[in-house]
C-alpha cells in the first residue's frame, strides 16, 4: 500500500514504529497533490514548504519521544498531513472563504481548532476549496474554480466542504477539517465516498471559523474511515472560553467507543426521510445498510420526525437572516477586496459588495435582510424560530426511544457539474436530509454504504442526540468494519 493511501491510525502506527517518517509521508501526499490536483482542484492554497518543515519538527518530536520512552503519549495526529477548509482561519495564511471579497485576507490569529491541531503537531498541507462562505452544495459557488468529484471528474464533489471531501477521497491528505451549517460536511462526504462527521453544536469551538449562520455553523471532520473521524474529533473538541456557544462537556475518548458492538442498539428509521423523487439506488443502498445493522444485532425502530418537511424553509429563513448580518462587515474598509475607483463611501461599499460577492451569497443576503425587515420579522424569522423548536422537539421525542437514527445523507449521488447551478431550489434540496440536524443542534455522521449503477458512492447518515457522538461513532464503526465500501478507491 502506498503511503498516501494510509489512514491516520495506520500512519500513526508506522510513525511510532519508526517505519516511516512524517517527511516521507508528507512528501508522498505533496507528490499526489501535484499529480492529481490539476484535475480534482481540491486545494485553493498549497503550503509545501511549511508542511515539510512541520513534518521535520514532528519527526524530531517522535524521535525525542522514542528516546525518552514516551511513545505511548504521542498524539495520534503528530506528523499527520491534513487539509483545512478555507473558511477556517490559519494565522498568516490566506483565508478566502472561496470569496473574491476576502481574496487578500490573511488572519492575524488562529482558529481554536487549528491551534489544537498545532498542539498535536499535525502537518498542514493547504487550504481547501469551498462554496463561497459555505453557501452551496456543490463547491461550484467558489469564486475561484469548481472542485471535481474524484469518482467522476465531470461531477461535483458536493459542498460546501467539497475541497476537503475530494482531497480525502483522492488521497491528497489523510484527513481534513470542514464546516457544516446545513450538511456541508456530510453531503460532500456522501458524494465523495468518505466519512464526514458533524459534531453537536457547541462541541467544537467556532472561534476562527468564518461565520455563515452562527446558530447553525459547526466545524466537522472528513476522514477515510470512522476511526480517523473519531481521532480528529477528539483532537479538536472541547470547551473554549472564546466561543460562548461552546459547551463545557468533557471530551470522551471517542476511539474507545469503537468496539464494533451494536447488539441491542436501538436504531430509529424516520419514515419522512424516504421521499418520492429520491434516487432509487440511494434508497436501496440505505435500506440495505439498515438491514445490515439489524443483522449485526441492532434493533430497528420506525420513528417519525413530523416537522421534517418544514426544515428546508425554516433553514432558508434562519441561515440567510444570520448570514445577512455576518456578511455585513465585508465593506472593503479594513481588509479584503475593495473597488479601486470609488467616488465616495457609499459607492465604495456598494460596488465592493457588488463585485466582491457571488450570486448565491447576494441572493442569501437579500433573503435574510428581507426576513428580518420591519413588518416581516414576525411572519418569517420569528415563525421560523418557533418551527425550529418543533423540529428540535421531534428529535427529542425520537431520541427518547432510540439511541441513533439512520437515514440517507443525500437524496442523490454526485450530480454533474453545472447541472443545478441555475436552479437554486434543486441545489437546496440536495441538503434536505441534513438541514434538520443543524436546526436541532445535534450530531451525525455520513459513511459510505454502497454505490449506484454508475459507480458513484452513496452515504448512510447516522444521527445522534446532542453530545451523542459516541453512539453515532459506535454504530458507524460497527457497520464499517463489517463492510468493504470504505475501502474502494476512486479510479484516478
Amino acid at each position: 500500500m502506498s503511503l498516501r493511501e494510509l489512514t491516520i491510525h495506520e500512519a500513526h502506527r508506522l510513525l511510532r514504529q519508526g517505519e516511516i517518517s512524517s517527511v516521507e509521508l508528507t512528501q508522498a501526499l505533496l507528490d499526489r497533490i501535484l499529480a492529481v490536483d490539476n484535475e480534482v482542484k481540491a486545494y485553493l492554497c498549497l503550503m509545501p514548504e511549511s508542511a515539510l518543515e512541520e513534518a521535520q519538527q514532528a519527526d524530531a518530536a517522535i524521535a525525542a519521544a522514542r528516546r525518552e520512552g514516551r511513545l505511548q503519549e504521542l498524539h495520534p495526529l503528530t506528523g499527520i498531513p491534513l487539509a483545512i477548509k478555507d473558511i477556517i482561519c490559519v494565522q498568516g495564511v490566506p483565508t478566502t472563504c472561496g470569496s473574491r471579497i476576502l481574496e487578500e485576507f490573511i488572519p492575524p490569529f488562529e482558529a481554536t481548532a487549528v491551534e489544537k491541531l498545532w498542539a498535536a503537531r499535525a502537518v498542514l498541507l493547504g487550504k481547501t476549496n469551498c462554496d463561497e462562505f459555505a453557501m452551496g452544495s456543490s463547491t461550484e459557488n467558489s469564486a475561484y474554480f469548481a472542485t471535481r468529484n474524484p469518482w467522476d471528474l465531470t461531477r461535483v464533489p458536493g459542498g460546501s466542504s467539497g475541497g476537503s471531501a475530494a482531497a480525502v477521497a483522492a488521497d491528497e491528505c489523510l484527513g481534513a477539517l470542514g464546516s457544516d451549517t446545513g450538511g456541508s460536511v456530510r453531503q460532500p462526504a456522501s458524494l465523495c465516498g468518505v466519512v464526514g462527521l458533524k459534531p453537536t453544536y457547541g462541541r467544537v469551538s467556532r472561534y476562527g471559523l468564518v461565520a455563515f449562520a452562527s446558530s447553525l455553523d459547526q466545524i466537522g471532520v472528513l476522514a477515510k474511515d470512522v476511526a480517523d473521524a473519531a481521532l480528529l474529533l477528539g483532537a479538536i473538541a472541547g470547551y473554549d472560553w472564546r466561543d460562548s456557544t461552546s459547551v463545557d462537556v468533557p471530551v470522551p475518548d471517542y476511539v474507545a467507543a469503537l468496539d464494533g458492538e451494536v447488539r441491542g442498539l436501538r436504531v430509529g428509521v424516520p419514515r419522512e426521510y424516504f421521499i418520492e423523487g429520491m434516487q432509487p439506488a440511494v434508497e436501496r443502498a440505505v435500506r440495505a445498510a439498515i438491514e445490515h445493522l439489524a443483522g449485526l444485532g441492532a434493533e430497528i425502530v420506525e420513528v417519525s420526525l413530523p416537522h421534517t418537511e418544514y426544515a428546508l424553509p425554516v433553514y432558508y429563513l434562519i441561515a440567510p437572516a444570520e448570514a445577512s448580518a455576518n456578511l455585513a462587515r465585508y465593506d472593503g474598509v479594513k481588509y479584503g477586496y475593495r473597488v479601486a475607483d470609488a467616488v465616495d463611501l457609499d459607492d465604495a461599499t456598494r460596488r465592493t459588495r457588488q463585485l466582491g460577492f457571488g450570486a448565491e451569497v447576494k441572493r442569501r443576503i437579500m433573503l435574510g435582510t428581507y426576513a428580518l425587515s420591519a413588518g416581516y420579522y414576525d411572519a418569517y424569522y420569528l415563525r421560523a424560530q418557533r418551527v425550529r423548536t418543533l423540529i428540535k422537539r421531534d428529535f427529542d421525542e425520537a431520541f427518547a426511544r432510540v439511541e441513533v437514527i439512520a437515514c440517507p445523507t443525500s437524496p442523490t449521488t454526485a450530480f454533474r457539474l453545472g447541472e443545478k447551478v441555475d436552479d437554486p431550489l434543486q441545489m437546496y434540496l440536495s441538503d434536505v436530509f441534513t438541514l434538520s440536524m443543524n436546526l436541532a443542534g445535534i450530531c451525525g455522521i455520513s459513511i459510505p454504504c454502497g454505490f449506484d449503477e454508475e459507480g458513484l458512492p452513496v452515504g448512510l447518515q447516522i444521527m445522534g442526540p446532542a453530545f451523542g457522538e459516541e453512539a453515532v461513532l459506535r454504530a458507524a464503526y460497527a457497520y464499517e468494519r463489517s463492510t468493504e465500501w470504505h475501502k474502494r478507491r476512486p479510479p484516478l
Binding site: 485576507f105 467556532r206 460562548s244 465593506d331 479594513k334
Partner: protein, 477 residues
C-alpha cells in the same frame, strides 16, 4: 395657545471597566494614539466571536438598581444592523427585547419641587469607532469600538429644559457615586439625545416628536431644548405641523439643524445575537450587588440634614460629589464639634482654593483631619477665624499642618492683657476725634476702633478681649 413640552431622554454612558465589552482590550482609551487598543475581536475580523464582560453586566445592574429598575432574570443581546465605517461588524451588539433593567425612576428637583421621571430601560451595548473626516478622505480610530456603553432611556416625563438638565445632573451624580462611569460629557463618556414634542396645555395626546442629537454639555441640553420648543411652538402657532425629524444641535450658531428626515427612518432589523447565549441573572447575584451599593446622593442629602443639622442648601452642595461628602464626614468625625461649623469651611474656603488651582476634590492637598485640627485651633482661641483662613491657604499651598504654620509664622492669637492694653492705648491716642464721637453716643464706632487694634496686632488679637479693653478704657477717660 399655551404649549406643554413633552421630553424624553436617551443617555449613553461609557462604563469604567478594565477591558472592553466583548474582548480583552484595555478600555481606558482616552488620549491613546489611534488604533492602539484593538484586537481581532473589536475590529470584527472574520471568524472572531464576542465574549460578555461580566463586570460590564455588574455595572449595568448597579445602575439599574440605583435607578429603582426591575432586573431581568433572563436577558438577551441583539444585533442592531446598520452599515457605517465606524461599525466594524456591520452591526452593533446591543439589547432590544429583554434588556437587563426596566421600569425604574429618578426624582429630580426644580425650584424646590420634586418630580419623578420614569426610566423605561437601561441596557448594555458596545460603542462604535470614531471617524475623523479630513478633506477628501476619512480616518477611522477603532480604540472606542467595543467600549461598554450603558444606555438609559427615560419615559417622556420631563416637562422643561431645566428639568431635563436636572435629570442629567442627577444621573451623572448617580453614575459617579456608583463608580461605574466617569460620566464626563466633555470627554464623550456621557452622551445624550432628547426627544421633544409639544402639545396644548390640558391635552393628553402626544405631538410629533423630534429627536435632538449632539448635546455635549448640560448647557447644550438646556439651550437646544429651549430653542427646539420655541421653534416647534412657532410652527404650530403658524398653523403648521411639526415634522418627525432628527435634529442636531449646532453649538456654534446655537440652533438645531435637520440631520435626517423621516423618509430615511432606519430599520435596524434587530434579532437575538446568536453568538451569545441568553444571560441568566441569579437573584443571589442581584441581592449581592444591591448589598454593595454605596449610599446614593439622595439618601446622603437626607441624612446630612437629619444627622448633622445642615440646611438643605448646605447638604446639596456637600453631596454633589461623593469625594466631597466623604471629606466632610471625615472632617466632622475628626473635629468632634458642630458639623454645621465644618460645612462652610469646605463649601466656602476649600472650594475657592480648589477652583483657583483647577483641582478636583480627589486631589485636595489638605487632609480632612488637618482641616479639623485647624478648626480646633480656632475654637480653642489659639488663632482667630480670620487668621484661620490665611492658615488654610498656606496649608493648601505647603501641605504643612495648621499648628506648624501658626508656630512658624507667629500667628497665634494674642490674649496677653498687657500687650493688648498697650495697643488699645496707642489707637485711642492716635484717633481722638473718633474717641470723642464715641463719647457723644456714636457707640457703633467701636467696631472701627477694633479694626484699628486688629491692624496694630496684625490680626492676631483676641477680638473679645480687645472689645472689653476698648470699652473699659473709653469709659475711664
Amino acid at each position: 395657545m399655551q404649549y406643554e413640552p413633552i421630553i424624553g431622554m436617551e443617555v449613553h454612558a461609557e462604563l469604567l471597566t478594565a477591558s472592553k465589552m466583548f474582548c480583552g482590550c484595555d478600555a481606558h482609551i482616552f488620549g491613546a494614539p489611534p488604533n492602539t487598543h484593538v484586537c481581532p475581536v473589536c475590529l470584527g475580523l472574520p471568524g472572531v466571536l464576542p465574549v460578555i464582560n461580566r463586570k460590564a453586566v455588574e455595572y449595568t445592574l448597579m445602575a439599574g438598581l440605583a435607578l429603582h429598575c426591575q432586573i431581568a432574570e433572563f436577558s438577551v443581546f441583539a444585533r442592531k444592523n446598520y452599515t457605517y465605517p465606524d461599525l466594524p461588524k456591520g452591526y452593533q451588539i446591543s439589547q432590544y427585547e429583554l434588556p437587563l433593567c426596566r421600569d425604574g425612576w429618578l426624582d429630580v428637583e426644580v425650584d424646590g419641587q420634586s418630580r419623578r421621571i420614569g426610566i423605561t430601560r437601561a441596557h448594555l451595548e458596545e460603542d462604535t469607532a470614531k471617524l475623523f473626516h479630513a478633506g477628501g478622505y476619512s480616518l477611522v480610530d477603532f480604540n472606542r469600538a467595543g467600549v461598554p456603553l450603558l444606555e438609559i432611556v427615560s419615559e417622556p416625563d420631563i416637562r422643561s429644559p431645566e428639568e431635563a438638565r436636572q435629570y442629567l445632573i442627577r444621573l451623572q451624580q448617580i453614575l459617579r457615586y456608583l463608580g461605574v462611569s466617569s460620566a464626563d460629557m466633555e470627554k464623550g463618556a456621557m452622551r445624550c439625545e432628547a426627544n421633544v414634542s409639544l402639545r396644548p396645555v390640558g391635552s393628553t395626546a402626544l405631538g410629533t416628536k423630534v429627536e435632538v442629537k449632539n448635546l455635549n454639555s448640560f448647557r447644550s441640553v438646556k439651550l437646544a431644548l429651549e430653542y427646539e420648543i420655541e421653534r416647534q411652538a412657532r410652527v404650530l402657532e403658524a398653523g403648521g405641523t411639526v415634522e418627525q425629524v432628527t435634529m442636531g444641535w449646532d453649538e456654534v450658531h446655537n440652533r438645531t439643524v435637520v440631520q435626517r428626515s423621516k423618509e430615511y427612518a432606519d430599520d435596524y432589523r434587530y434579532f437575538p445575537e446568536p453568538d451569545l447565549p441568553p444571560l441568566e441573572i441569579s437573584r443571589e447575584w442581584v441581592a449581592e450587588i444591591r448589598s454593595r451599593l454605596p449610599e446614593l446622593p439622595e439618601a446622603k442629602r437626607a441624612r446630612f440634614i437629619a444627622d448633622y443639622g445642615l440646611d438643605a442648601q448646605q447638604a446639596e452642595v456637600l453631596v454633589q460629589e461623593r469625594a466631597v461628602a466623604d471629606y466632610f464626614e471625615e472632617a466632622v468625625a475628626a473635629y468632634g464639634g458642630a458639623a454645621r461649623a465644618v460645612a462652610p469651611w469646605i463649601s466656602g474656603e476649600l472650594f475657592r482654593l480648589l477652583r483657583a488651582q483647577g483641582l478636583e476634590m480627589a486631589e485636595v492637598p489638605v487632609p480632612a483631619k488637618a482641616l479639623a485640627d485647624l478648626l480646633i485651633l480656632i475654637d480653642e482661641g489659639k488663632i482667630t477665624s480670620g487668621t484661620g483662613k490665611q492658615v488654610l491657604a498656606q496649608m493648601f499651598a505647603s501641605g504643612r499642618s495648621a499648628a506648624e504654620i501658626v508656630e512658624a509664622e507667629g500667628l497665634a492669637q494674642v490674649s496677653d492683657a498687657a500687650t493688648l492694653e498697650a495697643a488699645v492705648r496707642k489707637v485711642l491716642a492716635a484717633y481722638p476725634d473718633e474717641v470723642a464721637k464715641y463719647r457723644e453716643g456714636k457707640s457703633q464706632i467701636i467696631g472701627w476702633l477694633m479694626g484699628q487694634v486688629m491692624r496694630e496686632t496684625k490680626g492676631k488679637a483676641n477680638p473679645q478681649l480687645v472689645r472689653e479693653l476698648l470699652e473699659r478704657q473709653l469709659r475711664q477717660c
